[in-house]
């Protein structure tokens, strides 16, 4: 349905064969998100190591519309690859398909887009593992007994919802029969709303033992509330958080430990994958392998929807290691 026009001749000379002057773009969900800043930093490092130019973009609001616009702009610039951290699983399909039709390599990272809109997904960790590990953690913290609640981001966040599903699956195991998941609350990744929701959980469930917050804003807000109310030791918080934001609460015991992957590594890996795709070293098929700088070798594997590269297991942050990480990200 596209009229090719003058565009085609241009793409010929800036084609993808040479190694010189490639441009690789990464698009995060929105600006000002600490996690995203670090991810893009890692991406940029990888691309610079390869001697190419990195383009870091993000819309000012976490919307699909904003990302579509940026992708259009990148298509006009005829970049060599686009790495997308999607604000929606399906909503970017048309525009990403257009990009791929114009010869641009598309991959997603962190928050996936559907299999038809990308060549490969760079997965920070296996969702099942993420779900399981948090339940295991919380169970250990509360001695396999008591009420727990989940504080998520928006009710729309697909990766969060997936993790929560895995958590619920995990909870069905007999190991956890004395643990009761009383509520899933949504703080919309807003500080004030996350605080209100946490307070409501504490009011409604006086016997609450733990809160799992698989979101960086939520876990920090929940920990803050627990600290302020002096409930250290009575209610524990764990989940996925940024070491810098959580350092305070890991040190004061509100959160004995929590998890996250390293966004810098994730971006770094995505950068190398983008480069490999643009150089047509890999095509995103199952079994492809490539080298990602300091991180070593990675292999493309099969998933339910498309293919992916797995970074590794989430990393555990506890009082022993938090000091060295809190200044990193």
């Amino acid at each position: 349905q596209q009229t090719g026009g003058s565009n085609e001749d241009n793409s010929g000379d800036s084609g993808s064969e040479g190694n010189d002057g490639q441009r690789h773009a990464v698009i995060f969900k929105s600006t000002g998100n600490p996690f995203g800043e670090k991810l893009m930093e890692g991406f940029e490092t990888a691309i610079t190591e390869a001697g190419d130019e990195a383009i870091l973009r993000a819309p000012d609001q976490p919307t699909v519309e904003g990302q579509i616009q940026i992708i259009e702009e990148l298509i006009s610039q005829q970049v060599d690859s686009i790495t997308i951290i999607g604000n929606d699983y399906d909503g970017l399909q048309p525009v990403l398909t257009k990009a791929m039709d114009r010869g641009i390599k598309v991959l997603s990272a962190d928050s996936a887009v559907n299999g038809a809109s990308r060549l490969v997904h760079i997965n920070q960790a296996d969702p099942e593992a993420i779900g399981r590990i948090q339940i295991e953690a919380v169970a250990e913290m509360i001695d396999h007994e008591g009420q727990i609640a989940i504080l998520s981001a928006t009710s729309q966040a697909s990766n969060q919802n997936l993790w929560i599903e895995w958590m619920q699956t995990e909870l069905e195991k007999p190991d956890y029969e004395n643990i009761e998941l009383v509520e899933i609350a949504y703080g919309d990744d807003l500080r004030d709303k996350s605080v209100s929701e946490t307070e409501a959980l504490l009011q409604s469930y006086p016997d609450l033992k733990a809160i799992i917050a698989p979101t960086t804003v939520g876990i920090a807000a929940a920990s803050k509330v627990i600290s302020d109310k002096g409930l250290q030791g009575e209610v524990v918080v764990t989940g996925l958080g940024l070491p810098s934001e959580m350092a305070e609460y890991i040190e004061n015991g509100v959160s004995p430990w929590m998890y996250l992957w390293n966004p810098i590594d994730l971006g770094y890996l995505a950068g190398y994958a983008a480069k490999a795709l643009a150089d047509e070293e890999i095509s995103g098929e199952v079994g492809d392998t490539f080298e990602a700088g300091d991180l070593g070798n990675f292999e493309v594997t099969e998933t339910e929807d498309g293919t992916e590269v797995l970074l590794g297991d989430p990393f555990k942050f506890d009082p022993d290691n938090i000091d060295e990480w809190k200044d990193v990200y």
């Binding site: 000002g32 920090a220 810098s244």
Partner: protein, 329 residues
């Protein structure tokens, strides 16, 4: 005499709103007895304090027929600058931190005031432009980074958690500001001039009211309050980011308008604004307490706000009609 009471009550335009808040509170209490407990009420007050502070400032802006859409961004900017400062100089006294926030906020307010008064740009355009500019600057001064709890000295975080005379400092500050506004608006010439200007700018000129001065005053005051709110916000959540309080301006305006402030200028009472802010506070606090699906929360909130608005109007109409009927022909 009973007619005196009726006359007094009928003058109180926000009667309907107050009634509505009471009804709403009773309903929530019925659904979750944890609502009307001391702990929960004090949480609610703490969470509503910042909104009250901002809404009072916004009331004056609206009374002059203006509007300030930049307050969310001003709040973020002054919060970010203060957070960066206290993390660099942990010894800084919290009073100086508050002062710094107020100064930054006032400076933002002065810019807007100048644009509105001297240059004569419509407030909605000027503040929309500045909203973008200040938000951009927040990202820029923070270098895309964020300030987390562990970087902030305890004295700074203590602003939001400490008590003065047994009252939480946030609430205490809000009360002081409320009293100040009540006196300022009702008992000072400058206060009345704000209303006069909003009621009829042409006559104000003839009465020798310096419109530009008044505009400068209200926007600077609004900026100063946003700056103060910025410090309180950052202290309360122990976190400062580029997207702090994004979109908060609409909540503040909603509180004002629910409280009976007219965007046509000249009309608005401090008590009304307080009630407006409380209604939103009750909703934020109460909705998580009643166990509804998170997907229904927004819809319910919309219905409640709409009903509150219509209820208040109907009550006002009734009262006015009664007044008319008591006239003798």
């Amino acid at each position: 005499m009973e007619s005196n009471l009726i006359r007094y009550v009928s003058k109180f335009r926000e009667l309907g709103l107050l009634g509505f808040i009471i009804i709403l509170a009773i309903v929530i209490q019925f659904l979750n007895p944890a609502f009307l407990t001391l702990g929960n009420l004090s949480d609610m007050l703490k969470n509503t304090a910042i909104l009250c502070i901002l809404a009072l400032g916004m009331m004056l802006v609206l009374v002059t027929r203006g509007i300030d859409l930049s307050i969310g961004a001003t709040l973020a900017l002054s919060g970010m600058i203060t957070a960066l400062t206290v993390s660099a100089y942990p010894g800084l006294s919290p009073f100086l931190a508050i002062l710094l926030g107020i100064i930054v906020g006032s400076a933002c307010g002065v810019i807007l005031g100048l644009l509105v008064s001297k240059v004569g740009i419509l407030p909605i355009i000027a503040s929309l432009g500045l909203m973008n500019a200040f938000r951009g600057m927040t990202f820029w001064v923070g270098g895309g980074d964020w300030v987390s709890a562990y970087q902030m000295p305890d004295s700074f975080k203590g602003i939001a958690t400490s008590n003065i005379l047994g009252i939480n400092t946030l609430v205490f500050i809000a009360i002081i500001i409320f009293l100040f506004f009540y006196y300022f608006v009702n008992n000072t010439i400058t206060g009345r001039q704000i209303y006069a200007l909003g009621s009829n700018p042409d006559s104000a000129k003839i009465s020798g009211i310096n419109a530009n001065k008044v505009y400068m005053l209200v926007y600077t005051l609004m900026g100063g309050l946003s700056g103060l709110a910025g410090v309180l916000w950052v202290s309360k959540f122990a976190s400062s980011q580029g997207d702090t309080a994004s979109g908060y301006e609409l909540t503040v305006i909603a509180a004002c308008i629910l409280g009976g402030v007219s965007i046509n200028g000249g009309v608005g009472k401090v008590i009304g604004v307080l009630l407006g802010a409380f209604l939103l506070g009750v909703l934020d606090n109460g909705l998580p307490l009643i166990n509804v699906s998170p997907f229904w929360q927004m819809g319910i909130e919309g219905v409640i706000i709409l009903v509150a608005v219509l209820f208040n109007t109907e009550i006002k109409k009734k009262v006015e009609k009664n007044n008319r009927l008591r006239r003798v022909i």
